[in-house]
């Protein structure tokens, strides 16, 4: 059964007085994986939402045609036909699952099989789900509480739900941003099989290597327009360099920035940060940090790789002084950091250490405050008057290319990547100005960030190292670690299990991340 051909013609979407999409035209044919790339805020998410019928379209048409005679067209403003909801499934960037439900309940939500009196027929749902898992190879524990599922499993559940509703077109918004490299690989294998089976598949991503390896068609969005949309031939896939350059130029609207590389490291650089035997036990009694040791020299960039949930978040928080229950020692610049007992202690620590937490919504931003306020968050009383503050905000916006460059906008309205620029920009810019600067700790510094912005952030990280700061980068993006770091440490079950040179292959690092000692 073939999926529908989706023709999106010259659509425009506006939120308030902000145009998310000015003009986008794209045809999604079944059979191949369509990749959609573009800078943060280019309108990729909005494009998918418009296609799935979730976005307020002000112009243009979306047409769906499939071989079975189902043809539907909706001009702007028309309500979408009922069949639409089921024909096209979307996997949102932030999962749309009820965490208190079982996986099975989430699977059926919205299209529940019922018996008499509206009674749920979960047995029937289970049979159908099992059959679906059998044919697609997407495995989920149907009886688990959704909040207990790992990220990858939740994503499989979302895809299963879309298929369960009978969708033959699946639109995924940055599905690999939250996955480990191995999981991402599996995802593309599944999507490839679905496409082969005739489904229509579109994927938004920031990772160029995924496009080069898996996509059969690519579309680039820039500032609310589709600027390039063309198939990728097998020939190009064998020699990806030229294609990569072409795509990067289209994404950035100009020449790509030079790739970052770690600065030269002096042989005799002294150790800046040394962590000994860090132990942290969580509320459930699990040792999330389990005797972790590491050292970083002045001017050195050390990368931390690991599968999500192996202690990355806690390591960053412990160094930041936010985990009062942590045991072990953290020595910075020869002096052991005292436990944080007051806000004054915390401030003192932050004059020496810049921290970016991996979850920008929970730990980095006030979504309801303005971009400007967020950019100087935590510097109350340290800036010399409103004029200086405005200048500082403007400098940070310009330096990190926050888009739109509007300090008065609510931070929650920025696209994810631009929110990330705010968080990283604030931390790096501040520490460089601090006389006591010693260390930068970054959790997922470029998660969900486009190529251009990632280059800016990488540049700033390298600049910090060049100034003699020790840098610790935790990242799920192995390419990023390989490009930036002098050394890669692999974190597994709360401790460092291996040290690898940045030249190691994905495979080697991946095996170490799984805790296979022989890696």
């Amino acid at each position: 059964m073939r999926g529908p051909v989706m023709k999106i013609e010259d659509i425009a979407v506006r939120y308030g007085d902000c145009w998310s999409i000015r003009s986008a035209t794209i045809t999604l044919e079944p059979g191949v994986i369509h990749a959609i790339l573009g800078e943060n805020g280019a309108g990729k998410s909005t494009l998918l939402k418009a296609a799935a019928g979730f976005a307020p379209r002000v112009a243009g048409t979306v047409r769906i045609e499939d071989g079975r005679g189902f043809g539907a067209q909706d001009a702007a403003g028309d309500p979408k036909p009922q069949a639409w909801t089921n024909a096209i499934g979307m996997v949102h960037q932030h999962f749309m699952l009820v965490s208190a439900f079982t996986a099975l309940e989430n699977l059926v939500l919205g299209s529940e099989p019922t018996g008499s009196f509206g009674r749920l027929d979960l047995a029937k749902a289970r049979r159908e789900a099992e059959a679906l898992m059998e044919t697609t190879g997407l495995r989920v524990n149907l009886d688990a509480r959704t909040s207990d599922l790992a990220v990858g499993e939740r994503q499989r559940l979302e895809i299963l739900r879309v298929l369960y509703r009978g969708a033959r077109a699946i639109l995924l918004d940055e599905p690999t941003a939250v996955l480990s490299p191995l999981e991402a690989e599996e995802l593309y294998t599944t999507l490839g099989a679905l496409a082969e089976g005739g489904a229509t598949i579109a994927v938004v991503t920031h990772r160029m290597d995924e496009v080069l390896r898996f996509a059969g068609h690519v579309t680039i969005m820039r500032r609310g327009r589709t600027v390039l949309s063309r198939p990728i031939t097998a020939d190009e896939r064998d020699h990806p360099k030229r294609l990569e350059d072409e795509l990067t130029r289209a994404i950035m609207g100009g020449e790509p920035p030079p790739e970052a590389s770690p600065p030269a490291l002096a042989e005799d650089a002294e150790v800046a940060l040394s962590i000994e035997d860090l132990v942290l036990v969580d509320a459930a009694g699990k040792r999330v940090l389990d005797g972790l040791c590491l050292a970083v020299k002045k001017g050195e960039i050390v990368g931390i790789a690991g599968i999500e949930g192996n202690g990355q978040r806690e390591l960053v928080r412990a160094v930041a002084g936010l985990e009062p229950g942590v045991a072990g020692s953290i020595v910075l610049g020869g002096a052991r950091l005292p436990a944080v007992r007051s806000t004054e202690d915390l401030r003192k620590r932050r004059r020496a250490i810049a921290v970016v937490h991996e979850d920008r919504h929970a730990d980095g931003l006030m979504l309801d405050a303005t971009v400007g306020d967020n950019l100087v968050l935590g510097e109350l009383g340290q800036i010399d008057g409103p004029a200086a503050e405005a200048a500082l905000i403007k400098r940070r916006i310009d330096r990190f290319g926050v888009n739109p460059p509007d300090a008065a906008r609510r931070a929650g309205e920025l696209s994810g990547g631009n929110q990330q620029k705010v968080v990283v920009g604030r931390a790096l810019d501040r520490i460089e100005a601090s006389p006591e600067r010693a260390l930068v700790v970054l959790g997922q510094p470029t998660r969900g960030v486009d190529v251009g912005a990632a280059a800016t952030i990488h540049g700033a990280i390298v600049a910090a190292a060049e100034k003699g700061l020790a840098v610790l980068v935790v990242s799920a993006d192995l390419g990023e670690l390989r490009r930036l770091a002098h050394r890669i440490l692999v974190l597994h079950r709360g401790r460092i299990v291996t040290e690898l040179p940045p030249t190691s292959s994905d495979d080697v690092i991946g095996r170490a991340m799984l805790g296979m000692e022989d890696a």
Binding site: H92, M96, V98, S99, E105, L109, G110, S111, E112, L120
Partner: protein, 303 residues
């Protein structure tokens, strides 16, 4: 002391627990759907007044009951319109509902019966044996149609919430309205339907209160809606446990009445009156904080 373990005591406990239980089940329906509802008190009071006024006018307690339920549904839906469509904060809307109910029933008393304190007596349901023995009292309590409806509501609620499509959608709306909307569920409609159920069950409690006294008294709900809300919280938003908590409260109140009879005129009499409330405070203080609260309580599908 034998009076503590007697059929009389059991009958009293159940009788007292019914209004609390109805309000608590109403609270469960509203809040599991994601709507904060502190207006249970007002719905109890309005239900009581409507039941009495209509029974007084028609001589039919059944018509009174139907009218009370209609009034409860209307008030609850009004709360829903304010919070879900006009996006008034649910706490504000709930306070307004309570104040409105208090004022409106007072005004009704004045207008209909020219009284500031209470209505004239009415002839409510009379089933079961007469007599003052414990057994007779218990049978009278159990044979009351309002009690029967309340029992049905308690029994049906967990089933409806857990095992039906409607229940699943109500819980989805309460846990994560954004996710529910994304799979095509009309969150506002689901919430309003749940609020209608909530208002109906809560008003049932009001009618029970009034029929029990055979008249309406100004402010006769006397904080029961808030105690019921406490029961909802300690139960972790689960109907069965909330009903048990209300029964426990009813038992304490019955105990308090019995004990007061025994120690009348001693100084601790007043202290004993506070027993149920002190117990509620203790349980609330010791209960795990907000465990089991719907995650989307007070949140909306779209801003």
């Amino acid at each position: 002391m034998s009076s503590i373990f007697s059929l009389t005591m059991l009958a009293e406990s159940i009788r007292i627990a019914v209004p609390y239980t109805c309000a608590a089940i109403g609270g469960v329906w509203a809040e599991r759907a994601g709507v904060i509802q502190i207006g249970l008190e007002g719905i109890l009071l309005t239900g009581a007044f409507t039941a009495v006024a209509v029974t007084h006018a028609t001589n039919s307690p059944t018509l009174g009951l139907v009218a009370a339920i209609a009034a409860g549904v209307a008030l609850s839906l009004g709360h829903g319109q304010l919070t879900e469509r006009a996006r008034v904060h649910a706490v504000i809307s709930g306070i307004a509902l309570n104040l409105f109910a208090l004022a409106a029933t007072r005004m009704g008393l004045r207008a209909l019966y020219d009284s500031a304190s209470n209505s004239p007596g009415i002839e409510a349901y009379r089933f079961g044996p007469t007599g003052a023995t414990g057994g007779a009292m218990l049978l009278r309590v159990l044979a009351d149609p309002v009690f029967f409806l309340a029992l049905a509501a308690v029994a049906a609620t967990p089933f409806l919430l857990q095992r039906t499509r409607f229940g699943l959608r109500v819980r989805a709306a309460g846990e994560n309205p954004v996710a529910a909307a994304s799979v095509g569920i009309a969150v506002t409609r689901v919430r309003l339907t749940a609020l209608a159920v909530s208002g109906a069950i809560c008003a049932l409690g009001g009618a029970h209160l009034a029929y029990d006294q055979q008249r309406f008294e100004s402010g006769m709900s006397a904080g029961r809606g808030f105690i019921a809300l406490a029961a909802v919280v300690v139960s972790g938003w689960r109907a069965g446990r909330a009903a048990l908590a209300c029964l426990a409260f009813g038992t304490l109140e019955a105990l308090q009445i019995v004990l007061q009879d025994e120690v009348r005129k001693t100084a601790i009499g007043d202290l004993i009156q506070t027993l149920p409330y002190v117990a509620t405070l203790l349980v609330l203080a010791l209960a795990p904080r907000r465990a089991g609260a719907p995650e989307g309580l007070g949140k909306h599908a779209a801003d």
